[in-house]
Symmetry: C2
């Protein structure tokens, strides 16, 4: 609870009357408390990676953006955008984008729901399922937003450690029997993919909902979409932020049985996805060749960078994402992070258990990756 100083109202000169004359005596001296819910007051909130001001010249390898531009087909839709589509409210169900996505995923249209980024799908899940007495479970380290969302709903958390190779701790997650179990795959920040057989065991054994957050799946060799048709309690999350190079647009999807989506549709804002995102993303998703081609380039660069880092003595976790988690030879990750930043190269660092001796590097263009490697070579000598 934040309490703020009392302000005694000053005369309302514009009305030609004094506020004292307008106020009933019984209400005159109210103290104004900004009385947030206790769990909201306690929490600190999710801290996104640094976003340098527009125009800054940096090698920006810290927030997992795609180094290649979005589809020219998508840009064409933007340039030819009809003013009428801005003047009017957008489709409440973002059907134009949803239907294209459903076609790519090979599921019926009512198995897909669109949101203002897959972050909004996660927030809707938290609001629909979590309250005091409910709990989430997840394997750590992973995307920390899951924790923030549980805090907002005042729910409990069961954190289970990944082993050193990031195998999914299936038994422990099953034992937890949480209302919502989150698995990020490829996992942020490790880049590792959960095996389908492990996710299948989880889905079958959990009484609650299993969320497989596949934000980075466009760079992976396997995914868990098939589980959605096999289990009513599985939702797979997708986004146009990574593979489609549209992080600026904010469009994500939840894929599951309609029964599960129905509860989330009730609590979303009426017009949660804007008209530009709907039409531009639809064009980008239709252009599968463009996305695949960029993803292949990123995967090739990722494998090259992983080899080069290994040769320099870094430990590299096997990534199927557009980033690499790596431990420098001496574990002095914080120093490297700071000194790279001095060189104008941004990577991601967390002062958190199991991550404080590692950095996460987003795969950039070949030129950016070379700049990074040159920078690191100097720093570790």
């Amino acid at each position: 609870m934040i309490s703020v100083r009392v302000r005694v109202p000053v005369p309302l000169h514009t009305l030609g009357e004094t506020s004292a004359g307008l106020l009933g005596v019984e209400y005159l001296a109210q103290v104004h408390m900004i009385d947030f819910r206790d769990n909201i007051s306690r929490m600190t909130g999710y801290v996104p990676g640094e976003q340098p001001p527009p125009g800054t010249k940096l090698v920006k390898l810290n927030t997992n953006e795609n180094p290649y531009p979005p589809s020219p087909e998508a840009m064409k839709v933007l340039r030819d955008f009809d003013t009428e589509w801005l003047r009017r409210y957008p489709q409440p169900d973002a059907a134009i984008a949803r239907d294209v996505a459903a076609n790519v995923y090979g599921v019926p249209e009512d198995w897909v729901m669109a949101a203002n980024g897959s972050d909004e799908m996660l927030a809707l899940l938290a609001r629909a399922f979590l309250e005091p007495g409910k709990k989430i479970a997840y394997a750590a380290p992973t995307y920390s937003l899951y924790i923030n969302l549980a805090e907002m709903q005042d729910a409990a958390m069961v954190e289970v450690p990944y082993d050193e190779d990031y195998n999914l701790p299936v038994k422990a997650l099953l034992d937890a029997q949480a209302d919502l179990t989150f698995v990020c795959s490829p996992n942020n920040p490790s880049g590792t993919v959960a095996r389908l057989r492990d996710l299948d065991r989880l889905a079958a054994g959990l009484r609650g909902v299993l969320i497989v957050d596949e934000a980075y799946t466009d760079f992976a060799d396997e995914n868990a979409l098939s589980l959605v048709s096999r289990y009513e309690n599985v939702m797979v999350l997708r986004t146009v932020s990574k593979g489609y190079s549209l992080a600026g647009l904010r469009l994500g999807f939840g894929v599951s049985r309609p029964e599960l989506l129905a509860g989330l549709m009730k609590i979303k804002d009426s017009y949660n996805v804007d008209a530009v995102a709907i039409r531009v993303a639809a064009a980008a998703i239709r252009d599968q060749a463009w996305m695949q081609n960029n993803a292949e380039k990123v995967k090739a660069s990722r494998n090259q960078l992983a080899d080069a880092l290994t040769q320099l003595g870094f430990r590299v976790w096997p990534s199927q994402a557009n980033f690499i988690l790596t431990r420098p030879p001496k574990g002095d990750a914080y120093r490297l992070y700071l000194e790279l930043k001095d060189q104008g190269i941004l990577v991601r660092y967390w002062d958190r258990p199991r991550l404080a001796d590692k950095i996460r590097i987003t795969i950039g263009t070949d030129e950016q990756n070379r700049a990074l490697l040159e920078g690191l070579k100097v720093l570790i000598e």
Copy 2:
């Protein structure tokens, strides 16, 4: 709670193994319950006005969109949009748009927060302040989203009736002493404006937060923005959906002291406003002359339409918004709504207390307003 049929997993042919072999016996026969929070299962959700499919030829006067297009300056930003701004994540604080808005409102930049439509600001307020044991208050009839948001948070509601002339029931709202008190001004669906002296009394006398939802203020002669500098517990909401003709973009603002915004910043999604909305809306807000000129045209049309309806025997409430609430001579509003729809003219109708004998008409172009009047003349004879 929705319970769904058990599905016994089928063999995982893709893995060349049977799922039965993968599943621990102890987890084999779980029933999958989609166990939404009870309050979420109970609620029905907000129902937005009808949005006809793209390309449909209709006189669409049902969802309060501006009949005139957005600023050419805004469209220029859209056509020249840099691919780089789509590839990267947007500004977490939407600073480019926020700072332009703060300048127009005449407040410091940290007194303004941007959201994915003012609906998202309302949802954030609900999530930051409401939980079981907390309550909202509002005068009815008003924007029904306030009720849905309280339901989502399982909070209590105190509904106080407006009088027949839509004067704000200040005493009753003060007696309620809710955690959040919502006043929509100009009020949807009546179009009437709350007097500043009444809002001042409310702000001074409430221990909780007063939200003045000014989505329609660009068509009004007065607003309550001055209260924000006088009271820590007041938030004024604004949007680019109405005056700026950008309903498709989704950008709204909360204006208040920074202490109040701080709690909402913690719980919003990291990137809640997209890069297109930020830059296009900033250009639109900079072009005050365009917005004002369109607002003046709407106000003139509104006053003409109100006079014409009055001459036809309709009761018309004095509107400062871009719509009119009106009662047909015989109160047969539902029939008129349906028969107008048959003519291809959409207006808004609610089968709700005090509204079932009225329709709400959005102000269109002069041509649209004439079509509406001609349609009504035939129907009431």
